[in-house]
Every structure is written in structure tokens, then in C-alpha cells.
């Protein structure tokens, strides 16, 4: 790293040019010139402010207001302090949803990381043809639009026309004849986990694989000469070398599963009962079905805090370990 940092300024020096003359001659023109960068970046900043910051601020405001259908239509929302947060935090159903969200996230992230790492290690060991085939399949799975994939999964597990029930019945498991997968909470949850894992493994696997190719082969060689087995090599060579990439992929997957809203909404709408209701689904349900925009916003805010909490904890842990190993 330091080598790169030192090298960068060097080639720049000869390229430096004296200030352009026209700018120096006329003062107003010079001022206009210095405003140019800001003018150029203004649309992007403006767009971001309007599309990201304004909604966020508005959601924060709504979470502190008494904001229902009447206020949405007629306006005049009153501020009620932390009342919405108190209502939520006192609701056992909300805590049940929080617990489920973390369970959902943990299962997904662990499965994604483990499967993706195994796939990456496998791809590295494959010959050219096998590698091409696996990488192509990964990219194809990854390129599948979320809603399309969700719909396909929905049909795979359809009670009447689903290929899963057909396959299970034709190998003799008659209890699966017209088995309604989405009527069973655990089954619906498992199907969603499968879908989310299937959708995220390609990204994680390809990222990890490309990182694996950067590990110098000599390290493996010397480890093997020292008598290390495959497991030991992974623990002592590969993982430490790739720690930053693992960190990155892990964080992205935490975010990805925490916000897995589209899949759930399209497939089960949080049902049956509450079996697949995680925080984002809960927020939308509260806001749009019960017309409690205030409680929905508060739930979203709590989601942000919880998610940031998970990431902060994880980052701190990782940095601490890094400091120790240095």
C-alpha cells in the first residue's frame, strides 16, 4: 500500500499548468469559473437531497407525529414526542418481529457466507471449462430480476401446479400431493431463506473468488511444505489474507437480507399469520394496511438503528482483531 501512495503524486507534478490567463484578467469571469464545479454537481446533489434526504427527514418527522389517514389527506399532524416509539416498544408483537428479523438475517447470512466461500474455493480448483460453466451459471442466477425469481419460486412450490410437489409425489411421497407450502409458517420461512440465499450467493461467491485469485501461490506452497492441511491453510492463510473482502461481503449481505422486502411481499406478504413478517414488512403493513404511518415510520427508524448497530459491532470486532494481528 505505501508504495502506491508515494507514487501517485510524482507523475502529477509535470502536468501542472500555470493558471489560465483569462481568469486572471477579469474578476467576475474568474468568479464564474470557480462556481462552475458547484453548478455542475448541483443537479446530482439536488436529486439526492430530494430523493434520499428529504424522504428520510420526512420519515423521521412522521415518526414523531400523530400521522394517520386523516393527517395524510388533510394535513395538520401534531407532534407527540416519543409516543409512537413507546407504543411500538411496548408491543410484544413488535418484539416478536424483531426477534424473527434477526433470526432471518442470521440464518441467511451464515448460509450465504458458507456456501459462497465453498463455491469460491471450488471454482478456484476447477479447470477452465468447469470454471467457465460455474461462473456463467452464477452470473445468470445473479442477473435474474428479483421479482421474476420470486415468482418462479412461488410457482415451484405451488400446491396445485408446483414442480416440487409433483417431483415429491412421483418419487412416492404421497403426503406431498397438493401440499400447501405457503400455508405452513416454517415451510414458507424456509422457502424464503432458500430464495434469498440463492439470489445472493452468486455475488458473494464471485467477489470471494476474485479475491482468492490475488492470494500469492507461494504462501500456499510454503504452508503445505510446513505440513498444513486444507482446513489449516484456509484458517491461517486464506482467511487472514481476505479478511477485508470477507468484511465487505458480510456487511453487504447483512444489509441485503435486512431489507429483503420485495421477495417477502411478493411471495407471502408476511404470512401465514406473522410467520414471515420481518421489520420492513411489518413497517409497510402497519403503515399501509392499518393506516398508521406514524408507527410505520417509527418501525423503519428502529430498523435503521438496529441494522447500524449490527454493523458497528461487527466492524469494531474486525478492526480490533486486525490491530491485534499487526
Amino acid at each position: 500500500m505505501p508504495v502506491v501512495a508515494e507514487r501517485t503524486p510524482a507523475p502529477r507534478t509535470p502536468r501542472q499548468r500555470p493558471a489560465p490567463r483569462p481568469a486572471a484578467r477579469k474578476d467576475p469571469a474568474g468568479r464564474a469559473h470557480s462556481l462552475w464545479p458547484y453548478a455542475l454537481i448541483a443537479p446530482a446533489i439536488g436529486g439526492m437531497l430530494y430523493l434520499l434526504v428529504y424522504p428520510l427527514v420526512r420519515a423521521v418527522l412522521i415518526s414523531f407525529q400523530d400521522f394517520r389517514l386523516r393527517q395524510l389527506i388533510a394535513g395538520h399532524a401534531e407532534f407527540v414526542g416519543f409516543r409512537n416509539y413507546r407504543t411500538l416498544l411496548a408491543d410484544p408483537r413488535f418484539w416478536e418481529v424483531v426477534r424473527r428479523t434477526f433470526l432471518f438475517m442470521a440464518i441467511n447470512v451464515v448460509l450465504i457466507m458458507v456456501i459462497a466461500t465453498l463455491v469460491a474455493l471450488m471454482v478456484e480448483r476447477l479447470r477452465r471449462v468447469g470454471r467457465t460453466v460455474v461462473l456463467c451459471s452464477l452470473v445468470l442466477a445473479w442477473a435474474m430480476p428479483v421479482v421474476a425469481a420470486t415468482t418462479v419460486f412461488q410457482w415451484l412450490f405451488h400446491s396445485e401446479f408446483g414442480i416440487v410437489n409433483w417431483a415429491l409425489t412421483s418419487i412416492g411421497l404421497d403426503s406431498f400431493e397438493r401440499y400447501p407450502w405457503f400455508a405452513n409458517g416454517t415451510a414458507a420461512f424456509a422457502i424464503l431463506v432458500t430464495l434469498i440465499v440463492w439470489q445472493s450467493v452468486p455475488f458473494a461467491a464471485i467477489t470471494l473468488y476474485s479475491a482468492l485469485t490475488t492470494v500469492p501461490l507461494e504462501l500456499y506452497e510454503s504452508a503445505r511444505l510446513d505440513g498444513a492441511g486444507a482446513g489449516r491453510i484456509f484458517r491461517s492463510v486464506t482467511f487472514p489474507m481476505l479478511r477485508p473482502i470477507f468484511l465487505l461481503v458480510f456487511s453487504l449481505e447483512v444489509i441485503w437480507t435486512f431489507k429483503a422486502f420485495v421477495q417477502i411481499w411478493v411471495m407471502t406478504r408476511g404470512g401465514p399469520g406473522d410467520a414471515t413478517t420481518i421489520l420492513p414488512v411489518y413497517a409497510v403493513q402497519t403503515a399501509l394496511s392499518s393506516q398508521r404511518y406514524d408507527l410505520g415510520s417509527a418501525a423503519s427508524m428502529i430498523t435503521v438503528v438496529l441494522m447500524s448497530g449490527v454493523l458497528v459491532l461487527y466492524f469494531r470486532q474486525m478492526y480490533r482483531q486486525e490491530d491485534e494481528t499487526r
Binding site: L69, P280, A283, Q285
Partner: protein
Amino acid sequence: MKYRLLAGGSVLVLTAALSACSPPSDSAGGDGRTTVDVWLMRDSVSDTFQKEFTADFEKRHPKIDVKIQIQEWDGIGQKITAALASNDAPDVIEAGNTQVAQFAESGGLLDLSDRTDELNGEDWLSGLAEPGAYEGKQYGIPYYAANRVVIHRTDLFEKAGIDAKAIKTREQWIDATAKLNKGGTQGIYLPGQLWYALAGFIWDEGGDLATESGGKWSGALDTPEALRGMAFYEELQALGKGPKDSDEDDPPQAEVMAQGQVAQVISTPGGANVIVEKNPELKGKLAFFPIPGKTAGTPGSVFTGGSDLVVPAAAAHPEEAVTFIKELTGDEWQKKLAVAMSYVPNRTSLASAVAGDPGAAAMAVGAANGHATPNTPGWAAVEAENPIKDYMTAVLTGGDPAKEAAQASQDITRAMNAGS
């Protein structure tokens, strides 16, 4: 369709943000003509009806242009909410009769109480007029009503030696259906989540979906009456291959029946048109009878479904909106609509218009025992989340009825009181 971080929050704010942006209404043209924007629902009018009505209306009111948009029922509650919150709402919206209370409560609708006389308010169907009123004021103008009947295949009935006209009680209905349910034929195609039918069976037993006491509503699916209603549903559902985990729209039951293997479905009479449209070979082979009750004397209870027309408080042209409603709900077009779409007209005095229509006749028998969902703004939240559907699937797939009913009732109670 891409949801960014915090999907929940963004969706909320999107809805909220709609209230912030207000594109100027461009409908007042330079030539003094006004455009009245109308939202009607899918299957509310046919293409032909819409064209004829629009042409006639514009001829009679040369200063007004009509722009009709057809909306889908799926997710309509949110769409109307967003429209009411915007400054660019349509002038007339068709809303399900069970949805009006919620929007009226929110203050988003125009109070039309002083216009009821000119809109023939004296003999409106109560099943449409009552849900359209909130705290003594009339917000929803009755548009059309419909309730469910049994659509059946006359050829299959004949082959099985059954006289459909003789089916007057539940026992006779079950017997006939069991007889029809042979070989490749399904006695009845009843999807597991047709909760309107379940509601009818529960009302037959004297139960209800939810009851009010002391101003607080609570779910009532766990009463003995309601459990008997569910037991009958289960018995009937088993006489065919209806999927236990979906409703009548998934797959659309008219399309299932159009494939020719189904002897009966529970549907509004208009469904027969769709079946014939999908499979012209069934033309002339479909007939109707009212849903049988517990005894021969009383027809089965039915949910009085239907639509009201409302005018958003934010409508740009409320006067033209009322003119539009007046024409569409007036004698001439109500009669034509009822005949074309097999609906019950919005006024009792127009009932004779559909006397010759077999579907409407069967519907009229059932309508005598018509019921409504709980008339409270909280009910819309129950329909949006619909714990009744989960309950039905749970029981049909072997769950303990008493336990599942208690859970569902609890969910209904929560949903109904969540908004207040």
C-alpha cells in the same frame, strides 16, 4: 421495481411525498370545456358500455369531456389513499362499499348529503347507501350491487340426473355436489380462501365476523356459530379440487371453470360472462341458483357486495363530478348497466330492469338475506391484511379449528383497533 435501503420507510415517504407535489391541473381547456377524471374498477363496465356511455354523456353535456380510467381491485385501497392525499385527485372514484367508511372518516371525501335528492336518494339499496354514509352524512353514492350465487353447468347436472331447481337446502346441495364429483369432474370448485362464502355460512348459523361491544370491535370467528359455518365450508370444499391455499383470483376461478371440468362455482353472475368468453363452447350451458340456506324457506345469507361512487374533497371539478354521477346512476344507464353486467341496480325501483335475467333473478333471491361486513373504518384494515384467509387455509389443511379460530379472532381484533 427496486427498493432501496429501508424499503418500508421509502414506501411510506413516497406516499407522503405525493401530498407534497402538486402538478397543476390541466383539465380546463382553452375552449371552456372541462375534463372530468373518473376511476372505475375492473369489470365495473364493459368496453362497449363505456364507449356508449361516454359518447352519450358528451353529447348531452357538450362542455364536459369524460376521461375514464379502469383500475384493478388489487391494491386499490392504497391507490385511492394516495389520490385523496394528492392535489390532483380524480373527480369521481368508484370504491368498494366496505371501503367508503375509512375514507369518509379521514376527511378526504366530499359530503354529498345535500345532493341526495337529485340523485334519487329516496330508494337507494340500503346495502350500498348505509356503508356510503358516515356519522349521518352521505359520502358514497350507490352505484351497483352484486352478491354471489352458484353458477352451474346444466349439461353436467342433467347427466347426473340432478334438478338444480330442487336444491333448496344445504343437505340437498351437498348431496348433489357429491353426486357430481365423479371421475374427471369436480363437484364444485371452491378455493380455500373464498372468505365471502364463509361469511355467508357463518351468518346462516347466526354468527358474525366481528362484534361490537362498548365501542370496541373484536373478532368472532371462534364462536360456536362461526365454527359451524367453517365446518360446512370444509365439507363443501372437499367436493372438488379447489386449492386450499389461495383465493378465487389465483388462479381466476372463471378460467378454471372454463376448462370444462367443474360443475359449480360460487361467483357473482357476471362471472358467467367471463367463463363463456374464455370458453365459447359453454355458451348456453351455464345457469344460476341462489346459495342454499339451512332450511328450504330461507335462502343462504350472502355478502352484499357492490360499489359506491365518491368525490374526493380535492377534486378539481366537483360540480361536473356530480353531473357525471347523476347520469351514470340515473334510470337509463343504470338499467343498461344492470343488464349488460348482470348487476343489481342501485335503486329498488329499478329492480324490474333485470327481472328477465336469470343471473339477476337468482341474485335477487339471495339479496333478500344480504349482509354487510362490520360498518366501521377499522374493517378495511382487516381486509387489507386478511387473517380470515390464513385461518381458512389452516383449518382446511388439518389445523385445529378452535385454536386457529381463536388466533384469527385475535388478529381481527388487533387489526380493527390498530387504526384508532
